[in-house]
């Protein structure tokens, strides 16, 4: 759907007219990301992150395809081939650092995108499908990143793969056979490395497909906005181009400055030194930690230290996956008719507690599995589940929201007389 006042595509050049008859791809783009797509005029910079995420995906695919031309997925030579890329391949070091830091940048961007969704309740009707597809993308991203980290076959690659695939062993009865089937062996080796490479190459294109669905689903109701009040009249919107192409262009510039500064000046800051040691199945690292973007979930996994009906490990596995799966249910857990956190005083307080809670979980997930980090992550994990599963449903039924602006135009200009008279 689009709004009745959307600009219509009228090609003037004969070639573009010919093209429009044969394959109206320019028309499609015009209506999707051009002047034919009306967008709320009041989007703040939090709405830049979707486009940035799309850009990260492109960076990862381009650098990844180039790396794959030089990488060898064989347990004997994988580590050496990575060093070969770093030392001998022209610009290989740049491709590798761009890809490794690109993954981190991607997660920074997507976490911001998700927390934007939490704050503005972007998951609510009519955008539930956008949200559901988003969570599916996030799960695919985690799988892709996990398998990508295994490829250089360093110590953390190997032991991370061992720990994470070992989680399947916690499933009663079928767990161990399942784990051996997934790995193609009893522990990560050539078979596992090869299938991880194959899947790591495939999944980004699956993500690309789901991203297209995500944006398609978004373009049906159009973007929400910081007030959460739906579009009423033309004055509430501006055409995507040039307004948001210009704003996204600036956002992309800021992103690229920060990202390139990381790549050129601090490329190893977010990595673990142990991954510059070749995988050695006989030597367990002192602390096995995943990449930083998994830390909050890793902390939840390790927070379960007591058997209760089920083994502690199984509880941890269930909780870790549930921590993401609960996001699927958000549109139905948060029943408040008001979207934006700006007009929900009580909700807003809990939102900030959640933000801090996830940072605390992240910190504990990166720390050694010992006290006091375990106790802190236990408290933080309790809050995490209570927030989504108990607090949100209750808050949304007892809270009294602040008065909403009449329209987006009123929120921006202070009044919206034209629309008020009509209404």
């Amino acid at each position: 759907m689009s709004f009745p006042w959307a600009n219509e595509y009228k090609p003037s050049h004969p070639f573009m007219q010919w093209m429009d008859e044969k394959l109206p791809l320019p028309r499609f783009m015009y209506n999707a990301i051009g002047a034919g797509y009306p967008v709320p005029r009041n989007l703040n910079y939090m709405w830049n992150f979707g486009v940035l995420a799309g850009f990260c995906l492109v960076i990862q695919i381009v650098t990844g395809v180039i790396l794959a031309m030089h990488y060898a997925a064989n347990a004997d030579v994988a580590f050496n081939s990575t060093e070969h890329i770093m030392r001998d391949v022209n610009w290989g070091w740049l491709m590798r650092y761009a890809h490794a830091n690109g993954a981190s940048a991607f997660f920074v961007v997507v976490y911001t995108h998700i927390f934007r969704g939490f704050y503005y309740s972007s998951y609510k009707a009519p955008r539930e499908m956008v949200w559901l597809l988003g969570v599916a993308i996030f799960l695919l991203m985690m799988a892709t990143a996990f398998m990508g980290y295994v490829l250089p076959w360093g110590q953390m690659s190997f032991w991370g793969a061992k720990v994470i695939t070992g989680l399947f062993g916690a499933i009663p009865l079928v767990g161990e056979p399942l784990q051996h089937w997934l790995l193609g062996g009893f522990s990560p080796d050539n078979a596992a490395l090869n299938r991880f490479f194959s899947l790591h190459f495939l999944l980004p294109f699956v993500i690309l497909g789901v991203v297209i669905l995500h944006i398609w689903a978004l373009h049906i109701p159009g973007s929400s906005n910081p007030t959460g009040v739906e579009i009423k009249t033309e004055s509430d919107t501006v055409p995507f181009h040039p307004y948001y192409t210009a704003k996204d262009g600036f956002g992309l510039g800021v992103f690229l400055v920060l990202y390139c500064a990381m790549v050129f000046f601090f490329p190893n800051a977010l990595g673990h030194p142990d991954n510059y040691i070749q995988a050695n199945p006989m030597q367990t690292p002192a602390h096995i930690v995943p990449e930083w973007y998994f830390w909050p979930f890793y902390a939840i996994l390790r927070a379960f230290t007591t058997d209760f009906i089920l083994s502690a490990k199984l509880w941890g596995v269930l909780a870790m996956f549930s921590a993401i799966l609960v996001w699927f249910f958000l549109p139905w857990l948060d029943k408040s008719p008001v979207r934006s956190g700006t007009y929900r005083p009580l909700f807003r307080k809990f939102f900030y507690v959640l933000l801090i809670d996830v940072l605390v979980l992240g910190y504990c997930g990166g720390a050694p599995a010992q006290e006091p980090y375990l106790m802190v992550s236990q408290i933080a994990a309790i809050y995490y589940f209570l927030h989504f599963l108990v607090i949100l449903p209750i808050v949304s039924s007892i809270e009294r929201p602040d008065p909403l602006p009449f329209s987006i135009t009123e929120a921006v200009l202070g009044n919206d007389d034209a629309a008020a008279i009509k209404a």
Partner: protein, 270 residues
């Protein structure tokens, strides 16, 4: 329905977590926080300043040559350098003939495809540093990537090399079982405090530096070999810094222009 189910699921997770917390809290109240020799006596590396540090860092070729001399004179007896090829040494300022001469000093394995035999022959510039056979206690790691594969990098190597000392009396008083085992050496910078590597730098002048260099004190040798190992771990570090500046400056300029364009476009909408 979803809400009732999810509230129950949330309470179940919270209950098990709370249970875990209680057991952990009781355990910690009994045993206290972890208190090990390592948590008490492990030391973080001291500061080390190298020419390659910082956003403009470049290698000091003179220092890399000295560091290479320390590697050849000392470390090479036990440690290999397998990711470095002899021809890479040109980056240290050696010319083709010097590189050929260095390569010839080494016997590298050569595989004969016709006979299937592996023999050794004098190295060529395209060969890598050969494996090193070590008969002593412990397993000396390959040093090519050592400054990237340890927290602290070059500063760690520097502190480790100079950090050998007698076990503090206080340590033995607090942890009587933690006496350094026979054949190991106490070094508070090493993760578990007792390292199998015998102190490699034992005396000033252990390595002879070419004329025109500073005197080969222990401190100087430790610094130089650490600098050399930064180079072996990332030979194109200087190039990376050097290429980074134009990229970042160009992007900054483009971003300023993009900001002005955005202001222009939005001028009538605020």
């Amino acid at each position: 329905m979803i809400r009732i189910f999810s509230i129950l699921a949330g309470l179940a997770f919270s209950f098990v977590l709370a249970l875990s917390f209680v057991f952990e809290a009781v355990g910690t109240a009994k045993d206290g926080l972890p208190n090990t020799v390592e948590s008490n006596f492990h030391e973080h590396p001291g500061a080390l300043k190298l020419a390659s540090d910082g956003l403009f860092g470049k290698f000091d070729k003179q220092q890399l040559q000295r560091g290479f001399a320390v590697y050849q004179g000392v470390c090479q007896n036990c440690h290999s350098l397998k990711f470095v090829a002899f021809r890479d040494l040109k980056a240290l300022g050696y010319d083709d003939d010097e590189v050929k001469a260095i390569a010839k000093q080494y016997q590298v394995p050569a595989y004969n495809a016709a006979t299937g035999e592996v023999k050794t022959q004098p190295g060529k510039p395209t060969d890598h540093f050969p494996p090193v056979v070590y008969g002593g206690k412990g397993a000396p790691p390959d040093l090519s990537l050592i400054t990237k594969s340890r927290h602290g990098g070059a500063a760690y190597v520097h502190s480790l090399l100079l950090g050998y000392q007698n076990q503090p009396a206080e340590l033995l008083k607090k942890f009587p079982d933690a006496k350094t085992p026979e054949g190991l050496f106490y070094n508070p910078y090493f993760a578990n405090l007792n390292i199998a590597m015998p102190p490699p730098l034992t005396a000033d002048g252990q390595v002879t530096y070419a004329p025109g260099n500073p005197p080969a004190t222990k401190e100087q040798m430790a610094q130089d070999v650490s600098a050399f190992l930064v180079w072996t771990a990332e030979p194109n570090l200087a190039e990376r810094h050097q290429k980074g500046w134009p990229v970042v400056l160009f992007l900054l300029l483009a971003t300023v222009l993009a900001y002005m364009a955005k202001r222009n476009v939005w001028a009538d909408k605020h």
